[in-house]
Symmetry: C2
Subunit: 401 residues, 2 copies
């Protein structure tokens, strides 16, 4: 018998205690997002291998769990490489299936469409602390809204959600991909190298200005242009002032300013323009944003506008703006904080020693259940001391017959 007790590499079992907080976070998320008019959609975990390897996923495409062809389609003799063996794989994010979903169902959807998708995704990454091969993603996306109303509603939904989970000390950082590009262009650096330059800029936090300068110099850019570029970041001024130092369409700046004003006015929360915010992905086309909480160095979530991606993918122009919250990080943070789930139901365990009292205990339990309580009936075990201990440590009040 070759039965294996532990989960497959990098994947996890969740005990009832662990599930309790995961279910709670998800329920608050659903309630909040749905109150903003987002609608839940769901897609299969298994996706066409063609869609998963369409260059939409960057590095993640190297981490696909591939699913073997079945039946006659699998011809091991003739197979010369992996692609001959597989026809599907496990999704590595929710964006690829969302795009496919939108293309497949757009005629049945409200426009603009507010999508909320949650579910597990799979990456054959090297497992390490806090990184898993199966993990939850929770994405909010608005398709078909070209104005900054999309950004405002997205950010307000996330902020409302975080507050309902008792996160209060957080900061929203916001920038615009077009500001990042304008700064490069106006410094005389080559705009066609924008992605490379931004990869260096993105390290500012860690390697500081000197480090970024060193990298850009190593990459062969003109020193005076590098200096002009980096000098722009020295300015510690609000958005509009900051943007006077280089050439940029004022509509872009005004629109970003509107987002910041509206969100902070509506929800009284800290939203900061951060010209060094890059958010990796080259597919962003407009505002980008992320949220940081006090006790975590990295962000708990982020997103932005990606107007060209869906359109390119389905041969039809579709403005899009999305936000992904780091579900696993949030759960970990709450656990570390010793977060207590509010207003949990009362739990009652009827422990019966005389079989004649069973019927009575069952009736009482059913009454409790109808009164919105949790009730379970157990026979008294031989080792009652232990049984009592375990039940009590699981939050049960014990009633003996």
């Amino acid at each position: 018998m070759s039965f294996i007790k532990i989960p497959t590499k990098g994947m996890r079992d969740f005990t009832p205690r662990e599930m309790e907080i995961r279910e709670y976070v998800l329920s608050i998320m659903k309630e909040t997002y749905m109150s903003f008019g987002f609608e839940i959609i769901q897609t299969p975990i298994v996706e066409h291998i063609e869609n998963l390897t369409s260059n939409q996923g960057g590095e993640n495409e190297k981490l696909i769990f591939k699913v073997l062809k079945r039946g006659e389609k699998l011809d091991l003799e003739k197979a010369t490489n992996e692609n001959d063996l597989v026809d599907s794989g496990l999704r590595y994010d929710l964006t690829v299936p969302l795009t496919r979903f939108y293309a497949n169902n757009m005629n049945d959807l409200i426009s603009p469409f507010r999508a909320f998708q949650y579910g597990t995704v799979y990456r054959a990454d090297r497992p390490q602390k806090g990184r898993f091969r199966e993990f939850m993603q929770c994405d909010l996306d608005i398709f078909g809204e070209k104005t900054n109303l999309a950004e405002i509603e997205l950010i307000e939904a996330i902020v409302t959600f975080l507050r309902r989970l008792s996160f209060n000390n957080f900061e929203i950082r916001i920038n615009d991909r077009r500001i990042l590009l304008a700064m490069i262009a106006s410094s005389g650096l080559p705009i066609e190298k924008a992605n490379d330059i931004l990869i260096s800029l993105d390290k500012l936090d860690k390697i500081l200005v000197e480090g970024v300068k060193e990298e850009l110099t190593r990459d062969g850019y003109d020193e005076s242009k590098i200096d002009a570029y980096l000098k722009l970041f020295m300015e510690d001024s609000p958005l509009k002032e900051f943007c006077q130092n280089f050439e940029i369409d004022e509509n872009i700046v005004n629109s970003l300013d509107e987002i910041m004003k509206q969100v902070s006015e509506d929800l009284d929360c800290k939203i900061v323009f951060d010209p060094t915010l890059v958010r990796g992905m080259g597919y962003y086309t407009g505002p980008i944003f992320e949220i940081r909480v006090d006790d975590l160095a990295s962000s708990v979530g982020g997103g932005g506008r990606y107007d060209n991606m869906v359109g390119n993918f389905i041969n039809q122009s579709v403005p899009a703006c999305g936000f992904s919250i780091g579900f696993e990080r949030l759960v970990l943070l709450l656990e570390e904080r010793g977060f207590v789930i509010p207003s949990k139901k009362e739990k009652i365990a009827y422990v019966v020693s005389d079989k004649n009292n069973l019927s009575n205990a069952l009736k009482k339990a059913n009454k409790d259940r109808n009164n919105n309580q949790i009730a379970a009936v157990y026979y008294r075990s031989k080792n009652y001391k232990h049984q009592k201990e375990v039940l009590e440590s699981n939050g049960f009040t014990i009633i003996e017959d």
Copy 2:
């Protein structure tokens, strides 16, 4: 670009309308089962191929979606068969992972352990109406309870759940695997052929007594013994009377009688002894049961006691009793009935035509959301007639500026 719009074969996208009812059924299920002290656990969708092919899954083991080994482990040159290529697969049910989970976590669990697991499972079946390659399973199991308290609590939980979904005309059928065996033995039929004989008996509904007799005769059993066996089923009497016609341990009969009495007393529902109920799986060891509703020929769920399986699997004796509800069937039934989700939240769409009114609309929307309503803000689109139509058909009340 080889982008494919439809989901992979036999799998489904779920639109917001479809998700609404799925989410509702699941939420009622969670609430009800948890009120009975069942605790939610979760296991990965990817399972060790060794566990999936351990002969626990019967025919389902032929339908596994197999996952390709990754990196250096995959050696296509040396591979001579499928097993050289794969190290894991997608679970085809929730019982294999539950068993693994129990073996892996038993020291941290309440005993007896009441597990509620829900999630998708995968079978590379030939797709057909109502049968899919990715579908939800929802299992309740009690591990460690050797008395009929397990059966009683399981059945009462299911009945309570079905009633909360407004299913009222249903019938619970119950039998005991040991009664099935005793009837075979006392008729003189060979007990070591019990599984074959029961496969024939299971067709009674379709091929009637004559058909069953014909099959058993063809299988070479003695005609007088076949007649004696089938004659037992002619008796249309209650459990205790019925069981007087063959030799059986009266404790078995009394225990089954207790279950029936207790459940019908507690919940005033129809629970019927059905000596022809077989429930396929040979692994059952005691009471077996299933639930039928009026408008569906087959059952919406079933289960039973399987005291030896977990024990065999983990080398430790563990009494077990489980029930699996047909989630997809229930959802389909509710859709066919035109089921309306009770007490849905009010949905308000603020449609803004003047940008200057946006801020005001956003504030009103946030107020609505805090008042437990659903609110979304939209700009008025060029084709307002269509926009209005779609919003209204999606249940929104429209407020214009």
